[in-house]
């Protein structure tokens, strides 16, 4: 069952990567990359139990932290990009 979970995780990551390549807007790409990162955490956790070495779970924990911080950082970078290009005082007030 662990091997079936690994195959399903790889299929899901391929579909999320397809959406990240196809995505018409930048938010679609960020959404797909967020899902890809969450599934990467799960993939590392399942690989730990497949290989029988539970010490690798630290890598999954650190990757979950880095994934969340990177998604929030990229979203803050693109948040007021499209609508506030002509009015800078509102952007600085926020």
């Amino acid at each position: 069952m662990l091997n079936a979970t690994l195959i399903a995780l790889l299929v899901v990551m391929a579909l999320a990567l397809t959406r990240a390549v196809l995505g018409p807007t930048i938010h679609d790409r960020i959404l797909a990359v967020n899902m890809f990162g969450t599934k990467t955490v799960l993939l590392i956790a399942v690989i730990c139990f497949t290989l029988g070495e539970p010490e690798y779970l630290d890598i999954a924990l650190v990757y979950a932290l880095i994934n969340f911080v990177s998604v929030i950082g990229v979203l803050r970078y693109f948040e007021f990009r499209n609508s506030n290009a002509d009015s800078t005082p509102e952007a600085t007030r926020d």
């Binding site: 979970t5 399903a8 938010h27 956790a45 399942v46 139990f49 924990l61 979950a64 693109f78 499209n82």
Partner: protein, 136 residues
């Protein structure tokens, strides 16, 4: 006896997690607009993570790996809805509005509705009627 029961329960949880995960990925790929795609991805992220990590917890037994898996699950429970909320808020604040609004009304009232959304204190003027007109 109890070991085979635990392995069956673990396999069942992993199978349910795989099902919800594949459902969310197909929804992310096939749904027509951004907000429905975010609905599919944001719901199934949390649920599939809960199911798969619960299945791994049942497979782990009483060890340090159980504590680490619980820590990962707790952290994803906090961060996944926060990331979904940040994605929705960022899309709503940028040019990607909800799709049933007419395009010329969106372009005309984009700045006004955004200032209403960001600063609630100074909106006692005639703006609410126009905001209602844009929503319908």
């Amino acid at each position: 006896m109890i070991d085979t029961l635990l392995s069956y329960a673990s396999g069942l949880l992993l199978l349910l997690g795989c099902f919800f995960m594949l459902t969310g990925a197909i929804g992310l790929l096939r749904f027509p607009d951004y907000y429905s795609r975010m609905h599919a991805a944001g719901i199934t992220d949390t649920l599939a993570t809960f199911l798969i990590i619960s299945g791994l917890m049942l497979a782990a037994g009483w060890s340090l790996a159980l504590f680490k898996l619980g820590l990962i699950m707790l952290f994803i429970f906090f961060t996944s809805p926060t990331a979904s909320h940040a994605l929705a808020r960022s899309a709503q604040l940028s040019a990607l509005r909800l799709p049933h609004m007419p395009a010329e009304a969106t372009h005309k009232n984009n700045k006004r509705t955004r200032t209403m959304a960001t600063s609630e204190s100074n909106t006692a003027g005639p703006e609410p009627e126009t905001a209602v007109d844009t929503r319908t």
